[in-house]
């Protein structure tokens, strides 16, 4: 019995043999039909024979594998496979064109259905779910749990199929939810592991989300904002909804021309691609003199990280930097700049990180910086701003990280 089980499980392996043979046989037959070629003709009977033998074995092992399973997909895959094999055997005897066409047709259907069984029906064209932009607005069941069940479970557990008499398409009909969690967490080779029979298992995040859902009482209509989550759970949901992606990754720009980059390099700037095949650029200036800031305007569409610490900048230079509207990260620490210059940075709509430690920044300039729409982090150590004022400000702007003193 165990041996038969093993043969059944090896279906996934053997099935690739007839796939290769049939494909080769079809290609050679078509070529031979169009322009008879002795070399092909001599080889063809052997290939067709091998295709047939391996197909018979694949059907046999597939039958053993399918014994305790059901489903529309499986049903059609099984019969397409059987008819394909019959077609092959017939073709060994009667070389007819219509048989060849039928074999080709059944071949495509069988392999497509087989792949759908192992990879899931949404593998090729994953269904686009609602785009979540803030974690709080997501609904636990409708936006996370239901899509997971849909992608990994309901191909078997749905009305009409009801494996284990379980219907996971409808919230009201779901039974024993703890059992789902137990089953998906078993070792993969366990008899009761779900999804059964080598179908694509749930990912780590998907498992964690279902477990969390059951842990909080499997609610149907609760938003994440209404639920308590620890940091780990939050990060699981963030990666599930793809919220933790660096915003730079979705930022698009046309690559800068090599001439422009060369021009900046010649002027002493260090211009680097942020990563391979990305148009985005980082610029540094490591010479011990004042950089020609005006030139940077040439690559303003690609320039996202600018590092000019200790670069003898003054307030006029900040007016030029204020024109580099796509900046995400700006370091102008240790420069003789004041609030007058900093007010010119108001146009930096993408700026997330601003480093102005060791500068002449004061309250007015800081207020302007904190009102930037995307600002997340400001470095303010070693400035004229006093720490009690900053401590108060920190309480007010909870979404911005103000770093101004050495912690002890």
């Amino acid at each position: 019995m165990e041996l038969l089980d093993l043969v059944g499980k090896s279906h996934l392996l053997w099935v690739h043999l007839p796939v290769g043979f049939i494909f080769l046989a079809l290609v050679l037959s078509v070529l031979n039909w169009k322009k008879p070629n002795l070399a092909y003709a001599n080889l063809l009977p052997l290939i067709w024979l091998l295709a047939s033998i391996s197909a018979v074995f694949a059907v046999f092992s597939g039958y053993l594998l399918s014994k305790n399973q059901g489903g529309d997909l499986l049903f059609f895959h099984q019969y397409a496979g059987i008819f394909l094999t019959l077609g092959l055997l017939t073709y060994l005897k009667f070389k007819r064109l219509f048989l060849l066409i039928m074999i080709g047709f059944l071949f495509i259907i069988t392999i497509h259905l087989g792949a759908s069984l192992t990879h899931g029906t949404d593998y090729l064209f994953p269904e686009k779910s609602k785009v979540i932009t803030h974690l709080e607005e997501a609904e636990l069941y409708n936006d996370a749990v239901a899509p997971i069940l849909k992608s990994k479970c309901i191909s078997c557990h749905k009305p009409g199929k009801m494996k284990g008499e379980l219907d996971l398409t409808n919230y009201d009909k779901m039974k024993d939810k703890e059992e789902i969690i137990r089953r998906i967490n078993l070792p993969k080779n366990h008899k009761e592991f779900m999804p059964a029979n080598g179908k694509a298992p749930l990912s780590k995040d998907q498992t964690a989300i279902l477990a969390y859902w059951v842990e909080v009482g499997a609610p149907e209509n609760k938003r994440l904002a209404q639920l308590k989550m620890d940091a780990r759970t939050i990060s699981v949901f963030e990666s599930f909804f793809k919220l933790n992606q660096d915003p730079l990754l979705s930022f698009k720009a046309v690559p800068a021309s090599e001439n422009k980059i060369q021009k900046l390099q010649n002027a002493g700037f260090k211009v680097e691609q942020i990563y391979q095949n990305s148009p985005l650029l980082e610029v540094k200036y490591l010479m011990k003199k004042k950089p020609p800031v005006k030139l940077l305007f040439e690559i303003k569409d690609q320039l996202v990280w600018l590092q000019l610490p200790n670069s003898f900048l003054n307030d006029e230079d900040l007016i030029e930097i204020g024109k580099l509207t796509e900046l995400f990260k700006l370091n102008i620490s240790h420069n003789k700049i004041t609030d007058n210059g900093l007010l010119a940075l108001g146009s930096l709509k993408n700026l997330r990180t601003l480093n102005v430690y060791g500068t002449g920044i004061n309250k007015k300039g800081l207020t302007a910086c904190l009102s930037l729409p995307m600002i997340k982090k400001v470095y303010l150590w070693d400035t004229n701003l006093d720490s009690t004022y900053l401590a108060d400000l920190k309480k007010k702007y909870t979404k911005v990280d103000l770093i101004y003193k050495i912690d002890n």
Binding site: L248, I261, I274, Y275, Q276, N277, K284, N331, I403, I406
Partner: protein, 487 residues
């Protein structure tokens, strides 16, 4: 030969032998020639790869969005005891003085002097918002725990210093492979043309295995480490000996001319190219290094923070190295390793006896400077782009060697990372109740290397170099990124 009549072949004559073999000789020679040609093609193509576009100066873009730009590697030479530093084990306290053989399976140790179970001489306390427990050995580092990602489940393949050092530094336990700093500079290039991209700050102790820990191996010679000593003369001949202006430049120009000639004659040998660029770099360093090692521009508060005014000379030395490390990061040096200070009377962290005194002196030397470095980097915005790595080559046993020491233990040790892209305040992995073996989520040295490269934006599987007919990696055929500690 084909129509033999006798059972015994007549012997092959010299002429016949040559006749038979002539084609073979020729083709052997030809394959040799082609082989050389092909390998030299693939070697140079590494540098003119489409991903390494010209016009982007001496640096190469990483594979994907990087979290860190530089690494400071704080090497705790000799192996810090995990159960005395970052991995508290109350059970050792309870069973102090009992026979370890009755409690668990004891592996062979380096010295075979297995003593009794030894409790930690230091108390642990929870620190920071994360509540990470740290022992009294590191009171300053304890104030930074919310920035640390602690891994308690490190394992190494070697129970002995030299091999374990090679393994930690090069990903192979044998001598001669390229060091991780060389790999990183090979992968990303150097940002600063006046300083080497890979610097080892020599605190006075060269680790067992010697300078081979810091070599380029089969990578081009220009990626090897440059050793800077703490003190007035960090590098030999950093002040030019020629006092008359222009003479040194003329000498160098002449030398370069000759080198190019020789290089051309030898078909552009890698060693000559490296020598030429080393001379250029050395010349540039004569102006950049004195400026680098001059701490005049640092405020008193900063010096105090690092411990430069400490009464302990070892603390002062290590503080100077840490401050130098920050200054190197500011100047775009990719990989900086700090070796341990030579605390007199001690053999590094390798306390086979006298654990209490030895670990205390070592910890006192490095604790304040390291904490100062982390805080200084943080407040200047540099910790966002710098990965600080603290580790030894292996851990120590939970039972005594003799009565008051601990022997080598490669089956479990603790290390931490901070800064660029790691999740502060996390503890990853778990050891058994004695801190002897890893019980959960083991992390290998290859995993550590893969994670370090990942944070720099490099896929450890793509960073390859063709040598001796195959593609080599820092992680060989191993390594998984420890994604659970990434921010």
């Amino acid at each position: 030969m084909g129509n033999q009549k006798h059972l015994i072949y007549h012997p092959v004559t010299r002429r016949e032998m040559l006749q038979m073999c002539k084609c073979g000789f020729g083709s052997l020679a030809l394959t040799g020639l082609f082989g050389q040609l092909l390998s030299s093609c693939s070697q140079s193509s590494v540098f003119e790869d489409s991903t390494r576009k010209k016009g982007f100066s001496s640096t190469f873009p990483p594979h994907f969005l990087p979290k860190a730009k530089n690494i400071i590697f704080l090497y705790m030479d000799g192996g810090v005891s995990q159960v005395d530093s970052f991995d508290p084990k109350p059970r050792l306290e309870k069973e102090h003085g009992e026979d370890p053989f009755r409690k668990f399976k004891v592996d062979d140790t380096q010295f075979g002097e297995v003593g009794k179970i030894l409790k930690s001489p230091w108390k642990f306390k929870q620190h920071g918002a994360s509540g990470m427990p740290v022992s009294e050995l590191f009171p300053h580092i304890a104030t930074c725990v919310d920035d640390l990602a602690l891994i308690r489940s490190m394992v190494s393949n070697f129970p002995e210093h030299t091999n374990a050092n090679y393994f930690l530094h090069t990903g192979s336990g044998l001598q001669g492979r390229p060091s991780m700093g060389a790999w990183i500079n090979y992968g990303l290039g150097s940002e600063n043309s006046n300083l080497p991209g890979y610097v080892v700050l020599d605190g006075g102790l060269v680790p067992p295995g010697g300078l081979d820990n810091f070599k380029n191996g089969f990578l081009p010679a220009t990626f090897q480490a440059s050793l800077l000593k703490a003190g007035e003369m960090p590098i030999a001949n950093i002040n030019p000996l020629d006092t008359i202006k222009g003479i040194q430049e003329d000498k160098l120009a002449f030398l370069k001319d000759r080198d190019y000639l020789l290089g051309d004659n030898l078909g552009g040998a890698d060693e000559i190219e490296a020598a030429i660029s080393n001379y250029e770099l050395a010349y540039n360093m004569q102006s950049s290094v004195p400026e680098l090692t001059e701490f005049k521009s640092e405020s008193e508060a900063t010096k105090e923070l690092y411990g430069l005014n400490s009464p302990d000379v070892n603390t002062r030395n290590y503080a100077a190295q840490c401050l130098l490390a920050r200054r190197l990061v500011e100047r775009g040096v990719r990989f900086i390793e700090l070796t341990c200070p030579a605390v007199s009377g001690l053999d590094r962290w390798d306390q086979h006896s006298n654990l209490k005194m030895g670990h205390e002196l070592n910890a006192h030397a490095v604790d304040q400077p390291i904490a100062g470095l982390l805080k200084d980097l943080k407040v200047r915005g540099l910790l966002d782009e710098t990965l600080v790595v603290w580790t030894g080559e292996f851990g120590r046993t939970p039972f005594a060697q003799g009565t008051d020491g601990r022997d080598h233990n490669p089956s479990a040790f603790s290390m931490w990372m901070a800064g660029g892209g790691v999740k502060g305040g996390t503890i990853y992995g778990q050891t058994d109740e004695y801190g002897y073996r890893v019980e959960e989520n083991p992390v290998t040295i290859h995993d550590l290397h893969a994670t370090m490269l990942h944070l720099l934006g490099m896929d450890h599987k793509q960073l390859t170099f063709r040598f001796g007919g195959r593609d080599f990696r820092l992680t060989d055929v191993h390594g998984n990124v420890v994604s659970d500690i990434l921010a």
